[in-house]
């Protein structure tokens, strides 16, 4: 009996393994930083080089950190939704990655500026501390500075609803995230 059952059992085991294994997206690399305190940074602002954008600015409220660059086509794609979130009151901080300052300023002037402020990181030094692999990437930061979620690829209304809103519901009451009612309930 075992002679027939053992190969069947192995076949089923391998089948289940592949069934689930092959459905996973190999590009979904889990971030090493989820649940950890965000790495500190201090970068000159894109629009105002005299001013620094620091991680301290994010303290005390839930916010987004969005990695962008004018060279990044998909950033153009998500830009409209970022503006929408900003209008709803979500504080978004930009991490401008390996960009040209003039081009970046022009981009914000032309398309609108969803960011409270954007740090200028031409060599991607801060990006490495954040485990950034490219743009666009968006981090959700809790009011205590913990990285709650990371999204790679453009941030869309669908992604916001599916991946961000549940985390926000869990981590902030309506008083902490007033935008949740505005941006989250549609």
């Amino acid at each position: 009996m075992l002679r027939y059952l053992a190969p069947l059992a192995i076949l089923v085991f391998i089948g289940v393994f592949f069934y689930f294994g092959l459905q996973r997206n190999p590009n979904d690399v889990p971030s090493a930083l989820i649940g950890k305190t965000m790495p500190t940074f201090s970068l000159p602002s894109v629009t105002d080089p005299q001013n620094l954008v620091t991680s301290d600015a994010l303290a005390g409220r839930v916010s987004l950190v969005n990695v962008w660059g004018t060279w990044c086509v998909e950033c153009r794609h998500e830009h409209g939704y970022l503006l929408e979130l900003a209008r709803a009151g979500v504080p978004i901080y930009g991490l401008n990655l390996k960009d040209d300052r003039t081009a970046a300023i022009d981009w914000l002037a032309r398309l609108g500026n969803p960011y409270v402020s954007s740090g200028f990181d031409p060599e991607g030094k801060a990006a490495i501390d954040w485990g950034v692999t490219g743009a666009p990437e968006t981090f959700l930061i809790g009011s205590d500075g913990t990285i709650l979620h990371k999204h790679i690829s453009p941030l869309t209304a669908q992604v916001w609803q599916k991946d961000f809103v549940p985390v926000l519901r869990e981590h902030c009451g309506p008083a902490d995230c007033p935008f949740l009612a505005a941006a989250g309930s549609r």
Binding site: P26, N27, V29, P30, S31, A32, L33, P39, K98, E123, G124, A127, I128, D129, W130, G131, V132, T133, G134
Partner: protein
């Protein structure tokens, strides 16, 4: 004459890549340079999953090569460099993952499978040994 032109173009594209890769400044000390080479071949590019950062042309791979070079230059050990990278990009970037509860299966699997195979082999062998020797041979 279309094909040779295309071939030359393709060859030139590869040649340009090779020149670009060679343009990175190496260490004067051959020991440091060989450590750098070994490390960058053992760190997986987080953007392009089947390449090491030494091979990858992704911008993030270039950044990570630069960081590895900087850390080695600062006198960090191989282990410290790997820790620096895995703190930021996860164990995922180490082609030779560390032994942790989550990676234990990866390390144990070959030995478990070898053991299982050995067991099956031994059982088949034992069964054959028990067969009477005077069985008639097939014609």
């Amino acid at each position: 004459m279309k094909t040779p032109t295309l071939l030359v173009a393709v060859w030139l594209a590869f040649a340009a890549g090779a020149v670009a890769a060679a343009a990175e400044v190496g260490f004067d000390d051959p020991a440091l340079e060989s450590r750098y080479q070994a490390l960058t071949h053992e760190i997986r590019c987080p953007k392009c999953l089947n390449e090491s950062i030494a091979e990858s042309k992704a911008p993030v791979a270039a950044d990570l090569r630069r960081e590895v070079r900087r850390l080695i230059g600062e006198g960090k050990s191989d282990d410290e460099v790997k820790t620096f990278l895995s703190e930021r990009y996860g164990d995922f970037v180490l082609y030779r993952p560390r032994m942790t509860p989550t990676t234990f299966a990866v390390w144990a699997a070959p030995f478990v499978l070898l053991g299982l195979g050995g067991l099956v082999f031994w059982r088949i062998l034992a069964a054959r040994m028990n067969q009477p020797l005077d069985e008639e041979l097939p014609p």
